[in-house]
């Protein structure tokens, strides 16, 4: 680009006064010719930016900066727990979507138990890879819950909840509760004996809440005793409501971590 306004667009004149070698002249001529047609210069700038981005120097970490004994790697598995729970969540979401193709949240009577139960038996006995699919879903849920609990302990014992990370700690408490809600609603879906009586405990717990207890039982379990509405509501909570809420909260949780950095022990 020229500095003086009068040379604007007079690229050939600009080349004349530069006394270039034939190779330089040929190169520049081709470049100008192409640039007039395709505005190559923009793309070159993009490439240059990418070059610098790729070759960015890693900033020093806290432990390197202060020359602390760099034992960070030693605790590293504990620092990966949050990301492990996110991964397990993704695996559970994928396998759960596949399971959802075959499951029916119906408490209507069937040959063995209810329709929901016999669908589950179908998934486990007749469906190709159905047993494995349920196994993957169940194990990823278990591992996610375990990872979330351990993640909370890691954050507690390394003091990572302190200023400026208090809000993320509160958000984490909401997330751990919702994770257990996910687990509980999923536990009820097979509608076997375990599920039914765990649901019974849930209704009784809801009814024991002072003042709003009956309202909560109606809203969450669809009545004071278990039945078709309960199964339907657990299903909607498990596959519709909680996924939306938990996914967005996880996104916010991770975004805050991204902005604030991982708290290292001092």
């Amino acid at each position: 680009m020229s500095l003086k306004e009068k040379d604007e667009h007079d690229h050939l004149g600009w080349m004349e006064e530069k006394q270039l070698s034939p190779i330089e002249k040929g190169y520049l001529f081709t470049l100008i010719w192409l640039d007039k047609r395709f505005r190559v210069v923009d793309y070159l700038e993009l490439l240059e930016t990418m070059y610098y981005r790729v070759n960015l120097q890693m900033p020093k970490s806290h432990t390197e900066q202060y020359n602390l004994d760099n034992k960070f790697w030693y605790w590293y598995p504990l620092y990966a727990l949050g990301s492990f729970s996110t991964l397990a969540y993704v695996v559970a979401a994928l396998s759960g979507a596949l399971l959802g193709f075959y499951y029916t949240p119906s408490a209507a009577a069937a040959e063995t138990g209810t329709v929901a139960y016999s669908q589950l038996a179908m998934i486990m006995q007749d469906l190709q890879f159905g047993f494995m699919l349920r196994s993957i879903h169940r194990w990823s849920a278990q591992v996610m819950t375990a990872a979330v609990f351990l993640h909370m302990l890691r954050v507690y014992f390394t003091g990572a909840y302190k200023e400026p990370r208090e809000l993320n700690w509160l958000l984490g408490i909401v997330l751990i509760s919702l994770t257990m809600g996910f687990g509980y609603t999923g536990y009820l879906l097979p509608w076997d004996q375990l599920a039914y009586w765990a649901g019974q405990i849930g209704v009784e717990m809801a009814l024991s809440i002072p003042i709003v207890g009956e309202w909560v039982a109606q809203l969450v379990f669809g009545g004071f005793s278990l039945g078709a509405p309960t199964l339907q509501r657990m299903y909607i909570l498990h596959v519709f409501l909680l996924p939306f809420v938990v996914t967005s909260l996880i996104a916010i949780h991770i975004a805050i971590v991204w902005m604030q950095g991982i708290a290292e022990p001092h």
Binding site: M58, P59, K60, H62, N67, L68, S83, F84, L87, G113, T114, Y117, L120, A121, M124, F131, M132, R134, S135, I136, W139, Q142, V143, T145, L153, T158, G159, A160, Y161, K162, E163, E166, W169, L170, I173, M180, G183, Y187, P190, W191, D192, Q193, L194, A195, Y196, W197, A198, Q200, I201, E204, M205, L207, S208, W258, G261, I262, A263, E264, P265, H266
Partner: protein, 253 residues
């Protein structure tokens, strides 16, 4: 564009459509157009940015805006490296330990053992604290609230206690040795989570229930006390090392 706040004379019939200005106003321009709270906001932003700039100029190392381990790229690249290993572990678990399905739901036969999934044992255990529910002698030894209500409230209390931790424990101490009390509270809490879970499965525990009940509350206290004592003992040597290496460079608040 006129920067004054006088309404322009409407000569075009007054569509109210403002032509877009391709010049983004600078912070000081925005500030000069504002009054009250928006103005305070901009003034704060300018001040904060100036402080950031001063910090950057003082620093002697490659720039970092946050005092933490960078999430990108450090943390995420290492986590991505662990991803396939982790998913492989999940698949291995699923293949080797397949899930169980019980008998179909039968409302007319209550099983001997009713249990939620393991991660809810602690909450289930808190429902069995009826023995701790105080009886008020004024009310003729009546309990103030039903045992069930008491159990549900215990859940709220536990979650609330965890939630207010960051607002009680302040300061820049991070390592357990720097804060023996809070480490002891944490270890006590972990032990309590374990013992209360054991209490919740009392009918399959090979143990006297009243002994189990006492242990539920004693064990956390004992573990907490031991943690406190150990960390206090370790503290001096550990803090000497920390002071030598770290606090000299970056004094705690």
């Amino acid at each position: 564009m006129s920067d004054d706040n006088q309404p322009d004379a409407r000569t075009d019939g007054g569509t109210g459509i403002v032509p877009p200005d391709d010049e983004t106003p600078t912070w000081s321009e925005r500030k000069s157009r504002r009054a009250g709270l928006p103005r305070l906001t901009y003034e704060y932003f300018e001040r904060a940015r100036r402080e950031d700039q001063d910090l950057r100029e003082q620093s002697t190392y490659v720039e970092r805006d946050v005092l933490g381990f960078p999430t990108w790229p450090h943390e995420l690249i290492r986590n991505l490296a662990l991803t396939s290993f982790f998913v492989g572990m999940l698949l291995l678990l699923s293949a080797t330990l397949p899930p169980h399905i019980g008998n179909p739901a039968n409302p007319s036969s209550t099983p001997a053992i009713i249990l939620p999934d393991w991660y809810l044992y602690w909450s289930f255990g808190l429902l069995k604290l009826g023995d701790l529910n105080p009886a008020i002698s004024l009310l003729g030894e009546q309990k103030l609230m039903a045992d069930r209500t008491y159990g549900v409230l215990a859940n709220v209390v536990i979650v609330g206690a965890i939630a207010i931790v960051p607002f009680l424990n302040k300061g820049s101490a991070r390592r357990p040795v720097e804060q023996p009390f809070w480490a002891a509270v944490g270890m006590g809490g972990v032990t309590f989570a374990f013992t209360i879970s054991m209490l919740s499965i009392q009918n399959i525990m090979p143990m006297n229930v009243s002994l189990l009940f006492d242990l539920t509350f004693l064990a956390p206290l004992v573990v907490g006390a031991i943690t406190y004592a150990v960390l206090k003992t370790m503290r001096e040597g550990y803090m000497y090392d920390l002071n030598r290496r770290y606090y000299r460079l970056r004094p705690p608040k």
